[in-house]
């Protein structure tokens, strides 16, 4: 069984009965190895559709948690534990809980560095005082407003006024939280979450290759969510200064949000400012200020430094890229694709009206960028399969488009792996305005394939 990956959370969803005989087969050694390689901040096993489990059944997953967290540094645990399941697990493992327990996926996501919605007001209760405190600190650090009930009586009283809270957390146990630099996308900004004392270990926990490829794909705004940072040393300072000057070549902006300077020398701040890094007190100062957000994430065509051209190795694999794209979109939209033309040139989009686009980068055995230009109708059709409903909400369509592009990229990755070419993929960037897309590919040559899905014109562009 492979995990479902969404918003930086990997989740396994076994169904039915978990016992010592069956659970070994839910997660194979290959699955564990694949999970170790995931770039996620939370790895969960949902018990929502498990009607029966015993200790032997859970042990396989706990072993997987242990193996994976050693490598991946993500937070691991079970979610969708109702009261009975929670109490049973606590009884099984008593004081030896090395994993977290969450009453729902929604609760778990509040503890994820990839959480992308606004902070929530949360009523919180645990019998264990240290758990109450630990959870409250974590929730606060992730931008939420936790309200702790100090006793069960107080909790039950407060719970009566449930309309005052966005989320109520009980029957939840928080084990050690992950140490990874979490990555999430909000609009067209990439947000990295950093915490505690920053030192030279940033060199290993921060994925520089991923960052560089995000620059190539067209991301220009990188925000370090630094609410949880206590201090930093000279090695971390050097790391950020170098990162900022490298990013400046792309005219990209790096911001810190929530960084407190109580324990950081004033000179450090000056050095970071000199390197072009900006500071904000609150995430909303950027994300809710649409004008500023648009300004900071704007692409300047003159800043495109990457002038690499397509090589023979990529061209050889072109049929795999096309096959993966066509078959996935055919499947998702239930329409038939017809290839209309193929050219090697700069990107040409005749009709920009009613189109949206997405770009996704890949790196490793080969590197480059794939760009997809969709009529809104195709994205809407894909929404119908993924969401089970029609929608005209542009943000929802863009979100779904990103998911669709992720699926295509996942399939490309799979096809290339079969040819012994291993690649990693970036997060997809979406564009509601086609001109923004054209800025990132100015003067870049690539292969353009024009396709028609029923009557909808679709464009595929592969470049470096």
């Amino acid at each position: 069984m492979r995990a479902i990956i969404k918003d930086g959370i990997a989740i396994f969803k076994p169904q039915g009965f978990l016992d010592g005989n069956s659970s070994d087969y839910f997660i194979s050694l290959n699955d564990i190895e694949a999970t170790k390689k995931l770039d996620v901040s939370l790895i969960l096993v949902s018990l929502e559709k498990v009607i029966f489990f015993n200790r032997n059944g859970l042990d396989t997953f706990i072993k997987m948690f242990y193996d994976v967290s050693l490598v991946n540094k993500a937070t691991v645990g079970f979610c969708d534990c109702n009261d009975k399941k929670y109490d049973t697990i606590i009884k099984f493992y008593k004081n030896n809980l090395t994993f977290s327990l969450f009453n729902s996926l929604e609760t778990a996501s509040l503890f994820s560095s990839n959480y992308k919605d606004e902070g929530k007001t949360i009523l919180l209760y645990s019998e264990d005082k240290s758990q109450r405190t630990a959870m409250a600190i974590e929730l606060h650090d992730f931008g939420h407003n936790p309200i702790i009930a100090q006793s069960e009586k107080e909790f039950l009283e407060k719970k009566k006024k449930e309309q005052l809270y966005d989320v109520i957390i009980e029957k939840t146990f928080l084990s050690q939280v992950g140490e990874k630099v979490g990555t999430r996308v909000s609009g067209n900004a990439i947000i990295y979450t950093i915490s505690s004392f920053l030192d030279s270990s940033l060199g290993t926990t921060f994925n520089l290759k991923y960052h560089n490829n995000s620059l190539n794909v067209g991301f220009r705004l990188f925000i370090f969510d630094a609410y949880k940072v206590s201090a930093m040393n000279i090695h971390a300072l050097t790391f950020f200064a170098k990162l900022a000057s490298a990013s400046a070549e792309y005219n990209a902006t790096i911001c810190f949000v929530g960084l407190m300077f109580d324990k950081i020398p004033p000179k450090f701040k000056e050095t970071l400012e000199d390197a072009g890094i900006m500071f904000y007190n609150d995430m909303d100062d950027i994300l809710q200020n649409k004008k500023l957000l648009s300004e900071l994430s704007k692409i300047d065509a003159t800043s495109i430094k990457n002038k690499k051209s397509l090589n023979k190795k990529i061209i050889t694999e072109l049929p795999n890229f096309i096959d993966a794209t066509v078959s996935t979109i055919e499947m998702m939209t239930n329409s038939k694709a017809i290839k209309e033309s193929m050219n090697m040139n700069t990107l040409v989009i005749d009709e920009k009206e009613g189109k949206i686009a997405s770009s996704i980068g890949f790196y490793g055995g080969i590197d480059g960028i794939v760009i997809f230009v969709f009529p809104q109708e195709i994205a809407k059709k894909a929404c119908e399969l993924l969401l089970g409903e029609e929608t005209d909400d542009v943000y929802m369509i863009l979100d779904t488009l990103a998911e669709l592009v992720n699926i295509v990229a996942g399939k490309i990755k799979m096809l290339l792996t079969a040819h012994n070419i291993n690649i990693n993929i970036t997060l997809p960037r979406t564009y509601s305005n086609i001109d923004d897309l054209l800025d990132i590919v100015t003067n870049k040559k690539g292969v353009q394939v024009d396709l028609a899905f029923d009557n909808d014109k679709f464009l595929f562009f592969l470049t470096r």
Binding site: N21, S22, F26, K49, I51, L385
Partner: protein, 265 residues
């Protein structure tokens, strides 16, 4: 790309019930077990299937049983009808499985496990009705339908399922407006299975309740039995555990009784 047309094509290709089986089923319906055995004898494939099935460990026979009258006598009237239906479903199964990691041996094991445990449930519920006993045979047909419809789209479906929590039944429904249980009902209609079987199979999806209260109760048992069976190592390995969604709330009220019958600790 999956269209309603694929479903129509699948239904079109369902072979009509062979004459031998029509005769055998008619005789069973008339209570003529011995004559039914004589009729069934002329179908060598059926003979081989029955021999293989009843000698599986789940049937708990001490000695191997080989000839058809013996097998029919051992199974009795109701279970014989059930077994004939199992055989008919078996005729639909592909020679080579692509989407699921199955083979004929594992598929027959699934049929045998479902049938034997369904019998225990009906005994517990004190229900003696040969059509209800036979209804369980249609459940594995959902797997055959899933294999037939999705085998050409294996990679795409797997790619979708790595980013979205969505089962094959929901994907099919959203793409074509039909689900596996609808297709199974069409199989039942083509093979002139009684209405109660069709109603029960639809209701056992856990998402389409029947108007009949008793059918709904039986459907809960069938749904839970399916997931109890699909949680066994051999079927998890075959990737059958999550091809349709387990509706846990639908079966919660019968779980304790189910645990007792299946001796789950």
């Amino acid at each position: 790309m999956i269209e309603k047309n694929d479903i129509d094509l699948f239904i079109e290709r369902i072979p009509p019930t062979p004459k031998v089986l029509i005769d055998t089923l008619r005789l069973l319906n008339d209570g003529e077990l011995a004559l039914a055995a004589v009729s069934a004898k002329s179908d060598l494939a059926l003979h081989a299937y029955l021999k293989n099935l009843v000698n599986k460990p789940i049937y708990g026979l001490k000695n191997s049983v080989n000839n058809i009258p013996q097998i029919f006598g051992l199974l009795g009237l109701d279970a014989t009808q059930q077994t004939i239906y199992n055989y008919m479903i078996n005729l639909l199964s592909p020679k080579e499985w692509c989407f699921f990691k199955l083979d004929i041996y594992i598929f027959n094991n699934l049929q045998a496990e479902l049938s034997a445990n369904w019998k225990k449930i009906l005994l517990f519920l004190k229900i003696k009705d040969k059509n209800i006993e036979s209804a369980i045979t249609l459940l594995p047909a959902t797997i055959i339908v899933a294999e037939a419809i999705f085998k050409e789209n294996l990679e795409n479906i797997n790619a979708i399922r790595t980013v979205q929590d969505i089962d094959l039944n929901t994907i099919l429904k959203r793409l074509t407006g039909f689900d596996f249980f609808d297709v199974c009902e069409q199989i039942a209609i083509r093979w002139e299975m009684p209405y109660i079987i069709r109603d029960l199979i639809q209701s056992s999806s856990g998402i389409k309740p029947s108007k009949d209260k008793m059918i709904n109760t039986l459907a809960k048992w069938m749904h839970l039995l399916l997931f109890y069976t699909l949680s066994k190592d051999i079927f998890i390995k075959a990737q059958l555990n999550d091809f349709i969604s387990f509706e846990i709330d639908f079966v919660m009220d019968i779980f304790n009784d189910f645990s007792t019958i299946m001796e789950i600790e």
